[in-house]
């Protein structure tokens, strides 16, 4: 993966993309699982719709942030129609870059006294 573009060129990440990256961080998931995870983590503040989800997935696949698995990682899965997605190493780097960018922003906001120190 030496030909990957610099992760910074993808920043800032669209909200949906960042949430999908986070959802895929700990395990491979299918589409609805991603939607559920995002809703649960944000206490339903962010609810992805199917259109937004797959439009983002289409783009992330092309950008190499995620990849599609050829078979279900869950042997107990009964539904063979479901497709599973996994975070790529490049996707992980991009997510990290986004986190660093947000961290820097938070630090600056605190340094100027805009918000109290956590």
């Amino acid at each position: 993966m030496t030909n990957d573009p610099s992760p910074e060129t993808f920043l800032p990440l669209p909200t949906a993309v960042f949430h999908i990256l986070i959802a895929l961080a700990d395990r491979d998931r299918h589409g609805y699982s991603i939607m559920q995870d995002v809703a649960a983590r944000t206490e339903t503040a962010v609810q992805l719709s199917a259109g937004t989800l797959y439009s983002s997935i289409r783009r992330m696949l092309e950008q190499g942030l995620i990849e599609e698995l050829s078979k279900s990682p869950d042997p107990s899965s009964t539904d063979e129609r479901r497709r599973y997605y996994r975070l790529t190493r490049f996707g992980r780097r991009v997510a990290a870059a986004e986190v660093a960018r947000l961290n820097a922003l938070v630090r600056q906001a605190r340094a100027t006294g805009l918000v109290p120190e956590g």
Partner: protein, 904 residues
């Protein structure tokens, strides 16, 4: 289940490729989401999300696919620069020509007056199609509603026709004046005299200075307003123009305002340099007073425009305006109008029409020609599109392997078609952009061509929303026309068959070849009407130029001297006329000279009512003839043969018996089967008094006014036997040789009077040229269209045949190797296309037969279905088709079988 079906319907909003890839997954996710959501609000939120996606996410996906296709299209275009250049160039020319002609057609025939507020509210009380001056009495029976009104009639309409919110008048013909600006040399300007309310009624404001007010109709206002184009042309757009001195004949004016660029006034197709108040007329055109009329003659020269008061109908306004006119006529003719004459004198009426398009002397004249030319360029674009389609078909064949591979790898056909059509759209868009520039240039060239016939013709290219819409429609329609069929064909591939064919390189691919041949047939069918039209119009231009004038144009000079401008006394004007004629006759190089009131090809026209013993006019019609006052040796100078009797001579003075010469048309109309010489003709004036003239000669018909119309009856009387000082003489001078004599004639005139107002000195040929210019211009355009159509059709045919031969190389090689004679190979190739050529030409002939009636009114001396023209056009088309077809056939017959097969 119902929810699934509904969601599937929503999925139709997404691009097919996206739907194919993710549709099933989206449906799964959506069903789960709906299943897990508690009934009520949450479930409704799921649906709202899906609907929002269809409206927000789906368009984004479409845009994404479009960008992808665009990149792909640009790559393909860059990879084939030759094809790309040909396509863009032909589209630029085709769409550009269509846009230019549409702009002209729209501007002359349909568009509202430019630079005018709420033009749809304008109405007109006179005939928008006519411009000029008519002095005399209007006869409603023969002349119909009034073309123009007199100044006094305008004043009364303005002051008494209470149904109008506002009324203004303008000089119906555009004046050509000699002007002196700030003391510089005399220069020609085009100007129009207008009433004080002119600019207010049109709702036009100056960009600098001010305009006339209603006061200009009451007191003499020596002011002029200039047009934007004149400001730019004459003053270079300088800022210090207001207040400049302007002298036109006896009028000393100052420039008070400059109008905006779009403003042309009340007449479309004309761009005046300046506007001058009506009351300046006696000083701008000295010798005539069009402001005062003495019974029974009126000078009718004004167009009247107005805006109706709210709620007033055209019919009400017309009735009211006619009541005003009738009151004026009763007062004007007074004692002259009694008994039967009263009915005749008062038979005059105004007709009110909507004037949103303004006046235009050119509109009716150009309507047929412009519409025919617009149809012509439209057909040309169709032919060009067919050609591009053919090129794309051939290219589609070359890309067959790629398409087949992609189809067999699972690409949807719709997706591939979308990609190919996007390519066509990109090509067309590039062509359309270039077409805008082409349109501006072509429009200018077209206007210049038409201005040869009428120098005052001017209309600018307005790139308004209408034009933009036309350009976009043309572009998209072209793209679909030339792109859809090839895209359909290129993707209509049975993968297995195509791959097999790829390997064999023979036999099949017939479908694609057939489509190409059908396109070529259509091209030929469309080319023939263009060729026939070009032939008919070229023959018309030829006929108009070769029409028998009845006199010799060569070596004939005309010189107009405006004696009324300098000499007030009519008798002294006659003396001066004779002195000038005598001096001109002595000028070096002059063979003979004479004068005429009407001259040749001046547009001047004057008719009189006559009475002839033994001639009974048809009921309800007065016998009328054109009348010209001429000098001695008129027919000798003109070179018109006298079939009987003698010319007007020196001895026909005021003291001598009154004589006249008539033309053959006069003799045929009024004196049929009688010997005219020795008969009397009585010329009536409007007061009912008659003057008797003895016919002393009969001349051959001469066309000195128009070329196309029948020669009208005309009588010629001795200038000296006319009432004194009538009109301004036009001297006609026949030179001894081809050597120019203008300078000598000018000198002769100056010798008599150094300040003689010589307003124009031109050869008769130069006066004749504008009369044929329009026919020539239109014929040239039509010929150009015809030739381009021919070339495109030939290229199309050549391309299809070449492709056919190339496709069948191995088959032909095998045939030759097996001993087929080259002539058989040629025959085989020719046979294949002969059918399509014949069908194309036959349907083209039928099309031309139907369409030729549309231009019938513009033709002259040739029938719209002239068999010779049809035959020649068909022969030319067949000959070109044969040449285009022969080359590939010959190439096929010369194939080296071994080399060809090895190449396979």
């Amino acid at each position: 289940m119902r929810a699934d079906a509904l969601y599937r319907a929503l999925l139709r909003c997404y691009p097919a490729a996206f739907r194919d890839e993710y549709g099933e997954q989206m449906l799964l996710a959506f069903s789960d989401q709906l299943h897990d959501a508690p009934r009520g609000v949450r479930r409704a939120a799921v649906w709202t999300g899906a609907a929002r996606d269809a409206m927000a996410v789906a368009p984004k996906e479409h845009w994404y696919v479009f960008l992808q296709d665009l990149r792909y299209a640009l790559r393909t275009m860059a990879a084939r620069p030759g094809f790309t250049a040909v396509a863009i160039l032909s589209l630029a020319l085709g769409i550009g020509a269509n846009t230019a002609l549409f702009s002209l057609w729209n501007g002359v025939l349909r568009a509202s007056l430019p630079g005018v507020q709420r033009p749809e509210e304008l109405v007109m009380l006179t005939d928008p199609g006519e411009g000029g001056v008519w002095r005399g009495r209007w006869d409603g029976r023969t002349d119909g509603p009034r073309d123009w009104v007199s100044y006094q009639e305008f004043e009364e309409l303005r002051d008494h026709a209470g149904l109008f919110a506002s009324v203004m008048a303008s000089q119906s013909g555009l004046g050509l004046w000699q002007a002196r600006i700030n003391g510089a040399a005399l220069e020609e300007v085009r100007g129009r005299m207008v009433s004080g309310s002119f600019f207010q009624v049109l709702g036009a404001n100056p960009v600098a200075g001010r305009v006339f007010t209603a006061d200009a109709d009451r007191v003499d206002t020596p002011e002029a307003v200039i047009s934007h184009s004149f400001w730019q042309r004459r003053f270079g757009g300088r800022g210090d123009v207001i207040g400049s001195a302007l002298a036109i004949r006896n009028a000393r004016l100052s420039i008070i305002g400059i109008m905006p660029p779009t403003f042309v006034g009340e007449t479309t197709g004309q761009q005046p340099d300046m506007w001058v108040p009506l009351r300046m007329q006696p000083r701008v055109l000295p010798g005539d007073n069009f402001l005062q009329d003495t019974p029974p003659d009126k000078a009718m020269w004004l167009h009247v425009f107005g805006r109706l008061k709210p709620g007033v109908s055209l019919a009400e306004a017309e009735a009211r305006a006619n009541a005003v006119l009738q009151a004026n006529l009763v007062a004007f003719y007074g004692p002259d109008a009694i008994g039967e004459r009263r009915t005749e004198f008062l038979d005059q009426r105004l007709q009110i029409t909507n004037a949103s398009r303004g006046a235009s002397p050119k509109r009716s004249e150009l309507a047929t020609s412009l519409t025919a030319l617009l149809a012509g360029v439209g057909i040309l674009l169709l032919i060009a599109c067919a050609n591009l389609a053919n090129l794309l078909l051939a290219r589609g064949a070359a890309r067959r392997a790629e398409m087949t591979l992609r189809l067999s790898l699972g690409a949807a056909r719709g997706r591939l078609m979308r990609q190919l059509v996007t390519e066509s759209l990109v090509l067309a868009a590039a062509g359309g952009l270039a077409a805008a520039a082409v349109a501006v240039a072509l429009h200018r060239a077209l206007v210049m061509m038409l201005a040869e016939a009428d120098p005052s013709f001017a209309i600018s290219f307005a790139f308004d929303p209408q034009m933009a819409i036309f350009l976009v429609i043309c572009t998209v329609a072209s793209a679909l026309l030339f792109g859809l069929l090839p895209a359909w064909q290129a993707t209509a591939t049975d993968a297995a068959l195509a791959l097999k064919e790829q390997g064999r390189g023979a036999i099949s691919g017939r479908g694609r070849g057939r489509t190409g041949r059908i396109l070529v047939g259509a091209q030929l069918a469309l080319s023939l009407p263009l060729l026939v039209g070009a032939g008919l119009l070229a023959r018309t231009a030829y006929n108009v130029q070769r029409v028998d004038l009845g006199f010799a144009v060569d070596n004939l000079l005309t010189a107009r001297v405006d004696l009324r401008a300098t000499i007030d006394d009519p008798a002294r004007r006659d003396v001066m006329r004779q002195a000038l004629l005598d001096r001109i006759r002595q000028a070096p190089g002059v063979r003979t000279a004479t004068f005429s009131q009407l001259g040749v090809f001046t547009g001047g026209f004057s008719t009189r009512t006559i009475a002839i013993a033994g001639y009974v006019p048809p009921p309800g019609r007065n016998p009328e003839t054109t009348l010209d006052g001429v000098g001695s040796d008129y027919f000798t100078t003109l070179g018109t043969r006298l079939v009987q009797g003698r010319d007007i001579e020196e001895r026909d003075t005021r003291a001598a018996p009154r004589v006249c010469v008539i033309n053959e048309a006069f003799a045929a109309r009024f004196l049929a089967r009688r010997n005219p010489v020795g008969l009397n003709v009585t010329v009536m004036d409007d007061s009912g008094k008659g003057t008797v003239f003895l016919v002393v000669g009969v001349a051959k018909n001469a066309r000195t006014r128009t070329l196309r119309d029948e020669v009208e009856p005309r009588m010629f009387i001795a200038g000296l036997q006319q009432p004194p000082g009538a009109g301004n003489p036009i001297f006609l001078v026949r030179s001894q040789s081809d050597a120019p004599i203008a300078a000598a004639v000018r000198q002769a005139i100056m010798d008599v009077d150094a300040n003689a107002p010589l307003t124009s000195i031109r050869t008769a040929g130069a006066r004749l040229a504008p009369l044929t210019a329009q026919d020539r211009a239109i014929a040239r355009l039509a010929l150009a269209f015809g030739l381009v159509a021919l070339a495109l059709a030939a290229i199309g045919l050549y391309g299809v045949l070449s492709y056919g031969v190339a496709r069948r190389t191995s088959e032909i090689a095998v045939r030759i190797a097996l001993g087929a004679h080259p002539s058989h190979v040629v025959a085989m190739i020719v046979r294949e296309t002969a059918g399509v050529v014949l069908i194309g030409v036959a349907s083209g002939g039928a099309l031309a037969y139907l369409a030729s009636r549309l231009i019938a009114s513009t033709l002259f001396g040739i029938a719209p279905r002239d068999p010779a023209t049809f035959a020649i056009a068909t022969a030319v088309l067949l000959a070109v088709a044969a040449c285009a077809g022969y080359l590939p056939a010959r190439r096929a017959s010369k194939l080296e079988p071994i080399a060809a097969l090895r190449a396979e």
